[in-house]
């Protein structure tokens, strides 16, 4: 059996090289100037640049709005799909998840083209719509799984104890599905806050998001500034993750 434990070695080395080291490299590049000297100028440059800050704020705003819209639209859908009256819903549920398996760029392009054909001008509105459209399945899926696995006797007990259907939902079902909502939030917020290509398609390059700036910097060989921006993104991601873990534990 001791032999089997050494089976960890290849993957451990792989993880070290391809996961740990690259993240460390982001930090190193972020804190260097072009000549390889230590500097904090990359960070200060971001915080003194009004345009970058505005883009950053806009990215956060769009991501939060998209996430909230996904919850508001997705939760009822997941609830209906998992409901008792809808027990043949496995295939219907699959239909909701199906778009997840189609290349996101393709779907986004198709959406943008559809907006074009309908004569809707590309801008913030279409960006939000497109993002919700792209990421809605990621919100519906975890909530659907959680609700359909949820022991129905909780609701029965609550009802038995005198709760109205509304009370059952708000006092029992919703709190019990909170971890799933947080999974959904992670799955929607993380990619939307970091997106780059999708926003370009949906706004015809009118609106720049934070991901786009990272990409532009990296592509124009401004690696250090690109790394600094990535570091910032990483901080946001870690904060979101820690926050969601706390919330999940609190349930």
């Amino acid at each position: 059996m001791t032999k089997k434990a050494s089976w960890n070695l290849p993957y451990f080395i792989f993880l070290m090289i391809f996961v740990a080291l690259p993240l460390v490299l982001i930090l190193i590049y972020a804190l260097q100037d072009g000549q390889g000297h230590f500097t904090l100028s990359t960070i200060t440059r971001f915080f003194s640049d009004g345009d970058s800050l505005a883009t950053f704020a806009l990215s956060l705003e769009i991501a939060i709005e998209t996430t909230i819209l996904c919850i508001l639209i997705g939760y009822p859908a997941a609830w209906i799909l998992a409901g008792r009256s809808f027990n043949k819903s496995a295939v219907t549920a699959a239909l909701f998840i199906l778009p997840m398996w189609v290349n996101a760029l393709m779907r986004t392009l198709a959406t943008a083209e559809l907006f074009n054909m309908l004569g809707i001008g590309l801008g913030k509105g279409t960006l939000l719509c497109g993002m919700v459209y792209d990421y809605l399945p990621f919100m519906i899926y975890p909530i659907y799984v959680s609700l359909s696995k949820m022991d129905k006797s909780y609701a029965d007990v609550a009802e038995d104890l005198g709760a109205t259907p509304f009370q059952v939902f708000f006092k029992v079902t919703l709190p019990l599905s909170k971890p799933a909502i947080w999974s959904g939030i992670l799955m929607v917020f993380m990619p939307t806050v970091s997106t780059f290509a999708i926003s370009e398609f949906l706004t015809n390059n009118k609106i720049k998001l934070f991901g786009t700036i990272i990409q532009e910097n990296i592509n124009s060989s401004m690696w250090n500034y690109g790394a600094a921006l990535s570091l910032l993104m990483l901080v946001i991601i870690c904060l979101t993750k820690v926050l969601s873990e706390d919330e999940k534990v609190a349930v």
């Binding site: 993957y11 982001i26 909701f96 083209e113 990535s230």
Partner: protein
Amino acid sequence: MKKLLCKTYLAILLLLLYAPIIFIGVFSFTESKVLGNWTGFSTELYENLFFEAGSGNGLLRAIENTFIIALAAAFASTILGTVAAMGLKNLKGYKRRAMQFMNNIPMINPDIITGVSLFLLFLFLHVTQGYVSVILAHITFCTPYVVLSVMPQLIQMEPNTYEVALDLGARPSQALWKVVIPQLKGGMISGFILAFTMSLDDFAVTFFTRGTIGLETLSTYIYADARKGGLTPELRPLMTLIFLVVLILLLVRNIRINRNTTKAKA
């Protein structure tokens, strides 16, 4: 009444979700270069896709690259992930938590972070970016999913399986091939499929790690194409076909699961 309301809600949502796909599907059967302009039914775009591939074979080449990369990445990460899962199962305490934490990072990290960090890695190690770097990058974000698909079957496996095989006279290698691997096959296959589709779908990581040798996958091709302004018409039939394949695969799988559960109940 309530039921009707629910059904209507779902129907509207589905319609909205599928509208762009249906829209593309419908207009894949017309020749018009501009979307939304119906110039009569034609299968020319399909023919172009397969026989000429409109824009100088670039599209076909991208499709080919996509599949080669996805196959290589899925194959490698299935092996790596299975070995890792077997090792992980025997780890305890902080070592196990540390490995699981590391395994989770590529799944949580947004694509752009994975892409940028791996770009910096290849830059740092002076690895020429191209096929190899893209495949390595894809293995990085695919393997965690393989580990997660193989793990449940490893845990389900009777704890003494390997010992029983040894006890009955199998050498360690025979025990592995004749007893352990066959029992993990299901998890390995679903891990492979998951890795394959993740790799097919990837855009951001490929975009950052493909270097400057002009390597195009389907995603980067579409991206470049869209930036040039508008969809290459041949992409319409391609999208439709991909969507149909996915749809059929998923439906078949669902129906099979349904049939199995009803069989199990009976």
